[in-house]
Amino acid sequence: MEVTTTWYLVLAAVLFTIGAVGVLIRRNPLVLFMCVELMLNAVTLTFVAFNSALGGLGGQMAVFFALVVAAAEVVIGLAIIVAIARRQPTTAIDDFSGLKG
């Protein structure tokens, strides 16, 4: 039995769903960020699978830039969490209502 591109895409779909469910049910902001990372990884897996199926290097290029954006996003997000945690006793995501969102 041969491993086709569809298998990778199905795996990425399941991984993306796990990440999305995690974002919806978890309340610790750090774990939320980890679930966002899961979703980003699912998408990069899709890119690489398509790159392998269609040839060229465009998919791997896209993964490069997605990686850089993910790193920047994590840095900013964690800095925001640290800044909020200095002012608030708890860091559950439901208490982050300073902007009345």
């Binding site: 895409l9 850089v68 994590v74």
Partner: protein
């Protein structure tokens, strides 16, 4: 052989992801995240993206997860996110509905609507480029996508400046935090959370 590697890596990736989903302790969640990332790195090797596999391990497992662990240790791991209680009523059933809809939609698209990936293959296959994966990637990155690389450098600079500006401790009259005393009171045991100063 390829099938065996794929199945084992899928099991590793999915178990790690489920671990992130259900781990109560954020440190355990971070370690499960490392498991998932390593599984994906092996899948990258299986897909002939060897350089990206190395980058995945170095950047994600080496930098991003370490950053997560630093922040977890900095904020303290005592706030256990108890998954047993549900603060917003109806959140869990709604999550199940939304999650299964997302999964169902994607699987329907993948397995029923089309058979395999559609789209035209590029004329430049990687084999015809010659050289290794890393060499080809470097050539494409710094030749065809040079402007995007420059923008990436700008983005990283802005991120560093923003992180420093956000996480910096303000000196002088702008010190805004009278709530911090309650923080110290609420911590269960302040002597063993590693505050060596």
């Amino acid at each position: 052989m390829e099938l065996a590697v794929f199945i084992i890596c899928s099991a590793i990736v999915l178990s790690g992801a489920l671990g992130v989903l259900i781990a109560n302790n954020p440190v355990h969640a971070a370690l499960f995240l490392v498991e998932t990332l390593f599984g994906i790195a092996v899948l990258f090797i299986l897909l002939d993206a060897t350089f990206l596999a190395a980058v995945q391990v170095v950047v994600y497992a080496g930098a991003i997860v370490i950053l997560f662990l630093f922040v977890i240790m900095l904020l303290g791991v005592d706030r256990a996110d108890d998954l047993g209680i549900e603060p917003i009523s109806g959140q869990r059933p709604l999550t199940i509905v939304i999650g299964s809809s997302i999964l169902g939609l994607m699987l329907t698209t993948l397995l029923i609507s089309v058979s395999g990936p559609t789209g035209t293959s590029t004329s430049v296959s990687e084999v015809s480029l010659g050289g290794t994966n890393t060499k080809n990637l470097g050539g494409t990155l710094f030749h065809d996508h040079l402007f995007a690389v420059e923008l990436t450098a700008l983005l990283l600079t802005v991120a560093i400046v923003g992180a420093i500006a956000l996480a910096r401790r303000l000196k002088g009259p702008l010190q805004p935090i009278p709530i911090l005393e309650t923080t110290n009171d609420e911590r269960p045991s302040p002597e063993d959370n590693g505050d060596v100063e």
